[in-house]
Amino acid sequence: MEELILQLKKQIIEVLNLEDVHPEDIDENAPLFGNEGLGLDSIDALELIVLMEKNYGIRLQDPNQGKEIFKSVAVMADYISKNRTK
């Protein structure tokens, strides 16, 4: 799980082009969206959906599902580990 969390942080930084952010700057339990934590928005959620499909073969049909899954890096990693097809 540790490894997946680190990998996920790197992928998030790359896909969302988070300038000057390093994996160690991201608290895996902090919220990704909203004013606390990383402060991502709805477009980032869509990019994360593409990330999940490309890298882990998980296809979300409804953007609203993302609200639960993308709560934090840790929640995301947990969902991926249970549902990944690649």
Partner: protein, 696 residues
């Protein structure tokens, strides 16, 4: 405002070719939403509203030999609708040279660009389609089919493009610069924006259900519609019967987010409010609203909030006809204007198909209803928060309204640029660099003081330059937040557009990245600047190749001179990627000229606060003019009492909007004599008169 009449209308959409078929579909509740057929896409899961004609069938209708000339679906649909409008108005081709034609589109020639992209890169078989990509080329193709119009320009404000074309046309009439204008919009469905909307996850897999509690997104549609606008006197002189009156209009910016709408509906609210105020009517007088009503959760909620803000608990009957046509994006403004006209002429409320349950929302018209309509409001909102509303009035109430205006003088207060000349300051005047490379790309903007990292990460170079120059120009002008932001751009964010197109063509229609699509619309610069400066006022973008900037300036002068705004920011932005540059060279369009990038923001105002660089005293724009017409325009503008400057291609290179840099340089270099900045190519001719401030 003046009495502006509509004397011709043409329409083509998924529910019919022409007004008669459209009317029948509306009355018989026949939706045009069907499985995809004409577009060659893998996305069969999304129903669409396609015009039920192939390109070849449209060519046959128009008498065009598809082998003899390049055509695009967007232009062909535009021509079909334009033909109907021109024929109904009774205008003849001998009158066109005195009539401006203004279109709205975002897709332009993308249908062919995506089809031939790999050919562009690998061989010479489709080079003639490199030129048909841009929005202006689409407008020229349509207009040229019928004759030579006085001037052409193209609005590109995403889904409000056609509505804004109507507004610009009306402004030309109000300013007395035209008695008659032809305005409209056209948009074909492409894989590019179908995949883009799919990446934003806002497409419904079922026929859309605007305003329904269970709505799940929009269906893309396509089509075109045109209106002929003219003054009452002009119509009377020609002996034509008016169809309806353009009673008012509003344009505002939500200034909230590139793709999402604000929770309080500020942009939509302001646009509708302005439309009513410009007509001088009370909210209670509106008999029907044709909403933007896309069917997405976000739009319909925000639009409902805005309607409640403006109309209280007396929201007039409203519906979204996108359940019939699909979302015809850039063309929706005029398509829905024609639908409003049909409703008015035949006294009925267009039904909101497939509506079942409002939940906690507002309830649209969902049963066939006959009703006499006097005032009808039509909304068109676009990505980037470009929100517009048009108000139409039944023609029976004849009354003459005359605007008596003392045109205001307009001053250039500040200008900031990032160009091939380094640095941003005045150094280029003393130590100019003469460009020698075929392509010079500008430096990265110093954006960090203006843009927080979280926002900057999604912005391409062109957007960072847009914000950096806009902030600098605003600060230098000392008149606060701009009341209007108007941008000219030939190609918009071409770097992002290219990346998205390249992925689409090489990797297929899967897993497209929404961020790339989001900034591919031409209005991204104007809207990002508006968000950054919190500017909720007038907002527009012109994308008509080499006259994109001149069109933006023209619009600013119209707004300023009639006192609609006291200051306006005019911007000109184009980037150039090495790959796009290679295509332009291959197509033979640069003819050995040195290409460069362009970023200019300038503040204009109707008062000189002591910072004025010069007066912008007037301008002319002509399409393929004769020598006599060129001379006449020059004489009218300055009577020979000005020096003529033909630009500085050695210093700034060429790109679609480098005429803005020509103006920038001329304003800074001028002495005590007026200067005319002239631009001339095989299609377009423009003159801008600058007067030194000694005369101000």
């Amino acid at each position: 405002m003046n009495n502006i009449l509509i004397t011709g209308a043409g329409i083509v959409s998924a529910i019919g070719v022409g007004k008669e078929e459209t009317l029948r579909s509306l009355l018989e509740q026949r939706s045009g939403i069907r499985p995809v057929h004409y577009l060659k896409t893998d996305h069969h899961e999304f129903p669409v509203g396609e015009v039920q004609l192939s390109n070849d069938e449209m060519c046959a209708l128009l008498g065009i030999d598809p082998q003899a000339q390049p055509t695009t679906r967007t232009a062909l649909m535009g021509m079909v609708a334009l033909k109907e409008a021109l024929e109904q108005s009774g205008l003849t081709s001998d009158m066109y040279p005195s009539i401006p034609l203004i279109s709205g589109t975002t897709v332009g020639g993308m249908d062919k660009s995506e089809q031939y992209y790999m050919d562009f890169l690998e061989n010479d078989s489709r080079n003639e389609y490199i030129r048909t990509h841009d929005c202006g080329a689409c407008t020229e193709m349509m207009a040229d089919h019928f004759g030579r119009f006085r001037m052409l320009t193209t609005l590109s404000t995403a889904c409000s493009s056609a509505a804004n074309a109507v507004i610009t046309g009306a402004e030309l009439i109000r300013a007395g610069q035209a008695d008659c204008v032809v305005v409209g919009g056209t948009e074909g469905i492409t894989k590019f924006h179908l995949n883009g909307f799919a990446s934003l996850m806002i497409l419904d897999k079922d026929p859309c259900r605007p305003f329904d509690a269970l709505r799940a997104g929009l269906n893309l549609g396509e089509g075109a519609a045109w209106l002929v606008l003219e003054t009452e006197e002009h119509a009377r002189r020609r002996g034509v019967k008016p169809l309806m009156r353009l009673a008012g209009y509003g344009n505002a910016c939500d200034a909230f987010h590139q793709t999402a709408t604000s929770a309080d509906g500020e942009g939509p609210y302001r646009a509708m409010k302005q439309a009513l105020e410009s007509a001088g009517i009370a909210p209670g007088q509106v008999d029907y609203i044709n909403t933007h009503g896309t069917g997405t959760g976000n739009n319909d909620l925000t639009e409902s909030v805005a309607m409640r803000r403006l109309f209280g608990d007396q929201v007039p009957p409203f519906s979204s006809t996108k359940a019939f046509t699909g979302h015809t994006t850039s063309a929706s403004g005029t398509i829905e204007a024609v639908i409003c006209m049909l409703a008015m002429q035949h006294g009925f409320l267009p039904i909101n198909l497939r509506f079942k349950d409002a939940g906690e929302g507002l309830t649209p018209v969902h049963e066939p209803t006959q009703k006499a309509l006097r005032y009808v409001l039509s909304n068109a909102f676009g990505f980037g928060g470009n929100d517009s509303a048009l108000l139409f009035e039944q023609i029976e109430n004849e009354k003459l309204k005359i605007e008596n205006l003392q045109p205001q003088r307009v001053y250039l207060l500040s200008a900031a640029q990032i160009s091939a000349q380094e640095p941003l300051c005045d150094d280029w005047k003393d130590n100019p660099i003469h460009l020698t490379e075929p392509l010079t790309r500008s430096r990265e903007a110093d954006y960090k003081q203006f843009i927080p990292p979280l926002e900057a990460r999604r912005m391409g170079r062109i957007l960072k330059r847009a914000i950096a120059t806009a902030c600098t120009a605003m600060n230098d002008a000392g008149v606060g937040t701009p009341e209007a932001i108007i941008t000219g751009t030939g190609l918009g964010c071409i770097e992002n557009t290219e990346i998205f197109l390249d992925a689409l063509c090489r990797q297929g229609e899967d897993q497209m990245m929404p961020t790339r699509f989001m900034s591919s619309t031409h209005n991204t610069m104007s809207s990002i600047v508006a968000i950054n400066l919190h500017a909720n006022g007038y907002n527009a973008t012109y994308a008509h190749n080499t006259v994109s900037f001149q069109s933006a300036l023209m619009d600013a002068l119209l707004q300023l001179r009639r006192g609609a705004v006291h200051n306006a920011m005019v911007c000109a932005h184009d980037e150039m990627t090495p790959s796009y540059h290679a295509l332009l060279c291959k197509g033979g369009y640069l003819k050995g000229k040195r290409a460069a990038e362009c970023a200019v923001s300038m503040m204009l105002a109707t008062g000189n606060n002591g910072r004025a660089i010069c007066e912008v005293a007037g301008m002319r724009m002509l399409y393929r003019p004769t020598e006599a017409e060129k001379q006449q325009a020059l004489d009218e503008l300055c009577g020979g009492g000005a020096d003529i400057v033909d630009g500085y291609p050695d210093l700034f290179g060429v790109n679609y909007t480098t005429p803005a840099l020509d103006l920038y340089a001329a304003a800074h270099l001028m002495g005590d004599r007026p200067v005319v900045v002239r631009y001339c190519d095989e299609n377009h001719y423009s003159l801008i008169l600058l007067k030194p401030c000694g005369d101000c």
